[in-house]
Symmetry: C2
Subunit: 256 residues, 2 copies
DNA sequence: CGCAGAATTGACGATCGTCAAGGGCTGTGG
DNA sequence: CCACAGCCCTTGACGATCGTCAATTCTGCG
């Protein structure tokens, strides 16, 4: 796998302790739940390939997508301190994920300063993305939300080589987008059609082309600084990635 | 000040390194911005008394309240890794806050294992509250949002002795509540009136009485587990609190 | 007492959801 | 290679929720 780095200023040696944790690499089929709310997964995950969504279900079935996970993302860091997962993680494409299981909660923090620092940084970035999600859904209308969401996905997809300058692959149904943005799939469709009519975007299959990126940015006042792509160790996992299969974790294709 | 503890299983000695950091105790007037988006505060905060809100402003003035801060809350932990604040923190009542300034980013993590663990735990809890906020605003209607919000505030106020069994002090205007829940102040008012008509709540001044807590819980399917009140070190700051003025930080009433 | 900010109320309208139906794409199996 | 099934996208009509605008009342405080 291609090695990914993006504004990452620490060596793989720093991430080594994480890679050396017991864990394995697993293939997961689209639609599989990697983590189920209320259960204790017992290990964390690093996405190697494929996309997933983290979501919460209300008792009547309403769904809220909290975040989209793509290659390079680490999740369930809370495994370091507890506990039951409070949300579900579902694969939306076929995936390969690496699991890791800390022998003792937070042991990594004690013995490996720089790794702890990187993990902390990851959590801070994660939180910033969640906050932006709150603003987007709380104070923006449907068009602004969708434009903003597309721009975020594009930016993040670029980093993990799922797109080129103007276009990217977005393997999410309009239903998922709606559940992320607090809208119905039907309304998402209406807005996307409008964007297409206005030559802002074009779509063929899962490929989205941002025909008028500036127009979208203006529409929603997009400011990507919350993604913190210009800051310290962009994502711990980006440094980790591509090393996991070089002899550390044994690949294991059995189900989780 | 009364010493607050709530499911907290570590000694003050663990928090000592945090308390010993350079910092001071400051009085802040209602309406003051403690942190301004885009600036680097250079230190973290612990709320001793009073309430604050964290919020983001869009360029046209729309405001989204991200979270409500009450006594015992720590904020701007991101000071450990960077950087510019991406949101504003404003006092909504007169406050007393303690500041702390790490001499070196994450030094606390390296030298004080248990403190690092507690800080990590705090961040995890913080994130859970943000996620719940996303669900609330994304997939609940106005009545459900307000009922859910009131129940969360009640629960959190109880812990810091700002309420009794059924009632609590809520020093937030309907405008702030609206900006937290993605509604207008006027619509918040309509719903609160409806709740009052239905004998779900009563209000006199800033005091809210939950006349029919079960009714509210049923209305919004409230499940408080996301607050993680039953888990490990509830809030680092609760252990810290009440110690800060015993000889560590010198009280300082000058403006920030 | 009088001011400022907050709460309250009503009329009206826009955005977005709901319901319903049709069309297209893809994978699978005969 | 075609047929079919299932999922997703698309479109339209209608209605409810919630926002906007405007005016009045209440409350705390100087």
């Amino acid at each position: 796998m291609k090695r990914l780095r993006y504004y990452c200023d620490f060596d793989d040696d720093i991430a080594r302790p994480l890679l050396d944790l017991p864990g394995r690499t697993v293939d997961v089929a689209r639609g599989t739940d990697l983590v189920v709310a209320g259960e204790n997964p017992g290990h964390g995950f690093i996405v190697e390939t494929g996309w997933a969504i983290r979501c919460t279900y209300l008792s009547d079935g309403r769904r809220q997508v909290l975040n989209v996970l793509m290659p390079g993302d680490i999740f369930d860091l809370q495994v370091f301190v507890s506990g039951e997962a409070d949300h579900t993680v579902t694969a939306v494409t076929d995936m390969t994920v690496k699991t890791f299981r800390p022998d003792h909660p937070l042991a990594l923090f004690h013995s490996h300063g720089k790794l702890g620092q990187a993990l902390w940084w990851t959590a801070v970035q994660e939180e910033a993305i969640l906050r932006e999600q709150i603003v987007r859904n709380g104070r923006r209308n449907a068009s602004e939300r969708i434009a903003h969401f597309l721009l975020e996905m594009h930016r993040r997809a670029l980093i993990v080589n799922e797109g080129d300058g103007a276009g990217f692959r977005l393997p999410l149904t309009q239903s998922v987008i709606g559940d992320a943005l607090g809208l119905t799939a039907i309304h998402v469709n209406r807005i996307l059609m409008k964007f297409r009519d206005r030559q802002l975007i074009a779509r063929s299959g899962q490929w989205i082309e941002l025909l008028d990126r500036d127009g979208l940015v203006a529409l929603c006042d997009f400011d990507p600084s919350y993604l913190r792509l210009d800051s310290f160790p962009r994502r711990l996992s980006l440094a980790v990635q591509g090393n996991g299969s070089k002899g550390n974790g044994q690949t294991d294709r059995s189900p989780l």
